[in-house]
């Protein structure tokens, strides 16, 4: 018993207690957030800050019918098994009404499987795996961020506009890399049947041998390169490729390469002229996006990352669903998420009834270096709804419904 009391104390010590700025009478509505705050700190921290900011705003505006939202943040060490246990604890002991979170796809898939079995709502905010809403999709799991397929399709559309015929791909050797290459190939060959893929490189995640990979790509003499590597792998690849002239006179398409999480660490050595998906927070002059950026900078005294936007949208989505739901029962929340419309900085996002995927899009643009920093130029926001397969294909890929 002592143990349990102590555990409860520590939980409240690390979780954010909603600050009720407006007089509220109701008891807090608790949401469980599971993420890899330590193992993937560079991605999870901005996400958490965006999430917290959204919750603060919702609570300041009166919460959900007078009840504030309280989010309990828990670290799963990036282990699916741990995440499952934490989800059980949150839902059975902490009294949370739904689960959100995860960046790693395997953790997201594990939680989604549990959610399906227990009848709990899970909003997979950041994991990208297509399987989450398609092959392993279930009625209880919703996904916010634009999936691998959607982002690859956006780049494939850009690629089809160029003259390049011979493509080389380089992607980390795991499910995300495989999905990203498969989707790019699928969409690009549909748009432009004459393209050929001359070489596929599969470095091990975070253990890229960049020199050798660049040599192997060069050997195939492609017209264009499709890059899926990210993080430290991307830095090494960009360096070796730049030094060895791999990118000279070639079109390069980089999945996620424009996200500040990946572009900023490269500093002045950021690649130039790559067509990428990302988040150009520095270049907004339209109101909702710019307002979010300045509010975020005021609140946290740092610039937002892509994760910040996703975290913020997660908070807004949760609030919208709770407002919509008739009760706090899982089934009511699930019903509320079906077809739910959320308006955030990037505009309206709809959680599709057909596959529980949100239509949140991504920004596509070209990289450049300005003032010693990599940025996206000539960018535009692409609505996710336009980059999903037709309903028939989706139904085929989602056997559960």
């Amino acid at each position: 018993m002592l143990r349990r009391t102590f555990a409860a104390l520590t939980v409240s010590a690390i979780s954010t207690i909603a600050a009720p700025l407006v007089a509220q009478d109701g008891e807090a509505i608790r949401i469980g957030e599971i993420n890899h705050f330590k193992r993937m700190a560079a991605f999870a921290e901005p996400y958490r800050k965006g999430y917290e900011m959204a919750v603060e705003e919702v609570n300041a505006a009166g919460g959900i019918d007078g009840r504030p939202i309280e989010v309990i943040f828990r670290d799963d060490q990036g282990e699916p098994g741990e995440a499952i246990r934490i989800a059980e604890e949150l839902m059975t002991r902490e009294g949370t009404v739904m689960i959100t979170g995860s960046i790693l796809s395997n953790v997201g898939l594990a939680i989604s499987s549990l959610a399906d079995r227990q009848g709990w709502v899970y909003l997979a905010s950041e994991p990208l795996a297509d399987a989450l809403v398609w092959s392993e999709g279930n009625p209880w799991t919703f996904r916010l961020r634009a999936s691998t397929y959607m982002q690859a399709a956006m780049l494939a559309e850009e690629a089809a506009k160029t003259d390049a015929i011979r493509y080389a791909t380089i992607a980390p050797n795991y499910a995300y890399g495989n999905d990203a290459v498969a989707a790019f190939k699928e969409v690009l060959t549909e748009l432009k049947p004459e393209v050929e893929f001359v070489v596929e490189q599969w470095p091990q995640l975070f253990q890229i041998d960049a020199g050798a990979e660049v040599q192997a790509l060069e050997r195939a003499k492609p017209d264009a390169i499709y890059n899926v590597t990210f993080g430290p792998d991307l830095a090494k690849f960009v360096r070796e490729g730049g030094d060895r002239g791999l990118f000279d006179g070639r079109e390069v398409f980089g999945l996620l390469s424009g996200e500040p999480e990946y572009l900023e660490p490269l500093g002045p050595e950021a690649p130039e002229g790559w067509v990428v998906t990302g988040y150009p927070w520095y270049a907004f002059d339209d109101r909702p996006n710019a307002e979010f950026v300045s509010a975020y900078e005021t609140r946290w005294d740092e610039t937002p990352k892509n994760g910040s936007l996703v975290g913020y949208m997660t908070g807004l989505s949760v609030a919208a669903a709770l407002r919509e739901a008739d009760s706090l029962e899982p089934d009511a929340i699930r019903a509320a998420f079906e077809g739910l419309s959320v308006t955030g900085p990037v505009g309206e996002v709809i959680y599709r009834e057909i596959d529980n995927q949100a239509t949140m899009g991504a920004f596509v643009g070209t990289t450049a270096v300005e003032d010693g920093q990599g940025v996206m130029v000539d960018w535009s926001y692409r609505d996710g709804a336009d980059y999903l397969p037709d309903d028939e294909t989706v139904s085929e890929r989602r056997p559960s419904e």
């Binding site: 555990a7 898939l109 549990l114 050798a212 050997r219």
Partner: protein, 612 residues
């Protein structure tokens, strides 16, 4: 010709950092017999410290002195760790020190996050060495050429240090026979400190030297660790020329693998390692281990006795209380207890292998994950019911252990440990690349217990029965003639063989038995979690079990499950804190220094003193 030459040059450049880190690990092991799991952390520290210094020190001179200073700084940190922590645990059973180094890993991870922040740092360029030169028309980065030149220089300097100086003579003597060196009046303490610091300095140097080719990030400690282990083992533990040869071999093979078999990047190094060890069981230039008593140094162990009646009654009562948990515990307590029980069985199976057979496996996750995947695959592809899957999980894992044991038991000691690691990694890469069959990194999901066992309380009772049954079976085996024969083989293999025991077959049987038990734990894990991912086959999982066994106490019968229960419950509780890795690391170090016999061993010693 040009492209081939360019590729060889890439391989040679890659070998640079790898050699420095590996030679450090090799030196440390040769003299102190410590398998330093934290070596990757020192490499990471070298990168971060080097990066910081390069921001301050200007120009070419600043760049190179930053690298040198990073090496020195990391060496000093290494000396500190040795003096404050490792010195206190040299008397502990061999390999116990790796638990301490595990604590260091956790602490360094959190400290690096605190000091340098979560974002990746891009390594500064070497002044004047940016860009490429053309060799036979092929672009070769200038810094690659610098690395190719520096590495042999460092190797030569090391060689001169080892062959030409008094320190080197002592290091060589200690590598051969450290007791004799001590008996001859050499102050071993400072020799150990000096070697450990030198090894760490080399790791730091390697970390700083690779900065212009990449940078510093928080995951680099673990990502380099496996390659370094492979290099050290392929070259021969304790051999510097071997480490150089192996790092060149592994790097060059890697480069050609990337070009001609792009999918092979995960498995290739381990294939090379298995092949070399099959051909030369002690690595390319290694020598047969003289002191081969893994985990069995120190005072002789008391013969084990069956527990007396009071203990038996006590245990039975405790088990009844535990079995009744669903009646009084919360829903979450039942789930947590299920997880703990599964982990206890896994730990107990490794503990049996270590304690009874004296075989240290660094790849026990192969059987845990193997059992888990066997169960999951049977359900997924053959539609097997849970009962059948749970029956076949230990059988499949046992079969796997039978096969791996056949090869791995050709080697002994640390080489055996490294072979098990290599096989576990091979299995991991097989599953990782298994496409739709194994689900790759997306794993297999939606594998839940049969309807009757679906309620958490029922599944808990099932787990309870199987895990407690498994642990009791392992205990029983220790008391059976099989256990006596195993301990005889462990304590003195030649004498056991002379008494007519087939040592190899005994060890093989123990390996298979332990593997099957780990497989049972893995099978239960799948149904408890409803899914399985390659994480269950990772090195981290093998290490978890190893740490737990040492924490619990190798030379006790209950060290495995006690360590497992304490660790699993402790981690579940600690992860609620912000800096839980730092805290866990400190707790591990604390236990290691005050209780070098492990929790159970120290408690028993304490009890014996009280009774007297």
């Amino acid at each position: 010709m040009g492209p081939i030459l360019a590729q060889i040059l890439t391989g040679l450049a890659n070998a640079g950092a790898l050699f420095m880190v590996a030679s450090g690990l090799s030196l440390i092991f040769g003299v102190t017999r410590i398998v330093n799991f934290a070596h990757g952390s020192f490499y990471m520290l070298g990168a971060y410290i080097g990066w910081t210094l390069m921001q301050v020190l200007p120009g070419s001179f600043g760049f190179w002195s930053a690298i040198l200073l990073a090496g020195i700084a990391v060496g000093a940190i290494g000396a500190f760790v040795e003096i404050v922590i490792l010195r206190r645990v040299y008397a502990a059973p061999e390999l116990f020190q790796l638990v301490a180094t595990f604590g260091v890993i956790l602490i360094v991870q959190d400290l690096a996050l605190m000091i340098w922040g979560p974002q990746d740092l891009l390594g500064p360029r070497a002044p004047g060495l940016r860009g490429v030169v053309r060799i036979l028309g092929e672009p070769v980065p200038k810094y690659d050429l610098a690395l190719i030149a520096i590495t042999p220089l460092v190797a030569l300097a090391l060689w001169a240090l080892i062959t030409r100086t008094r320190f080197g003579i002592l290091v060589r003597a200690a590598t051969q026979d450290r007791e004799m060196v001590g008996a001859l009046g050499v102050n071993q303490r400072w020799l150990f400190t000096g070697t450990f610091a030198l090894g760490c300095a080399l790791a730091g140097l390697g970390g700083a030297l690779q900065l212009p080719k990449g940078g510093a990030d928080l995951l680099m400690d673990f990502t380099i660790l496996t390659s370094v282990f492979v290099v050290v083992v392929v070259g021969g533990m304790g051999s510097l020329p071997g480490a150089y040869l192996a790092s060149v071999l592994i790097s060059v093979v890697g480069v050609f693998g990337v070009t001609f078999l792009p999918q092979s990047t995960l498995a290739l190094t381990f294939v090379v390692m298995v092949a070399v060890l099959m051909w030369r069981p002690f690595g390319l230039l290694g020598r047969e281990e003289v002191a081969g008593e893994m985990g069995q140094v120190g005072p002789p162990e008391d013969p084990i006795r069956p527990a007396g009646w009071p203990v038996r009654v006590g245990v039975a009562l405790a088990l009844v209380v535990l079995a009744a948990l669903p009646l009084y515990g919360s829903g979450f307590a039942v789930i947590l207890a299920t997880d703990i029980l599964i982990f206890c069985l896994f730990a107990a199976s490794l503990h049996f292998l270590l304690g009874q057979a004296g075989l240290v496996s660094f790849g026990h996750a192969a059987f845990y994950g193997g059992g888990a995947y066997a169960a999951a695959l049977l359900v997924r592809h053959a539609g097997a019911p849970m009962e059948l899957a749970l029956l076949l999980a230990p059988l499949s894992a046992g079969l796997l252990a039978l096969g791996i044991g056949f090869v791995a038991l050709r080697a002994s000691g640390v080489y055996f440990a490294m072979l098990t690691l290599a096989f576990a990694q091979l299995l991991w890469s097989l599953v990782w690349q298994g496409g739709a069959f194994t689900g790759g990194s997306d794993g297999l999901v939606g594998i839940w217990p049969a309807r009757w066992a679906d309620p958490n309380a029922i599944f808990y009772l099932l787990t309870f029965a199987l895990c407690v049954g498994g642990i009791l079976m392992l205990r029983h085996a220790a008391h059976a003639p099989f256990g006596y024969a195993l301990r005889a083989a462990r304590d003195n293999a030649p004498r056991a063989a002379a008494s007519g025991l087939d040592v190899r077959r005994l060890q093989w049987a123990a390996f298979t038995f332990a593997g099957a038990m780990a497989g049972l734990a893995g099978g239960l894990f799948v149904f408890a979690k409803g899914s399985v991912f390659p994480n269950e086959l990772e090195i981290a999982r093998s290490f978890d079990a190893l740490i737990v066994v040492f924490l619990g106490g190798v030379k006790t019968l209950s060290g495995g499950w006690v360590g497992g229960a304490v660790f699993e419950a402790g981690v579940d509780w600690l992860t609620r804190f912000e800096y839980w890795r730092l805290t866990l690391g400190l707790v591990v170090l604390f236990i290691v220094t005050i209780a070098p016999q492990g929790i159970v061993g120290t408690a028993r010693a304490f009890w014996a003193r009280v009774q007297r």
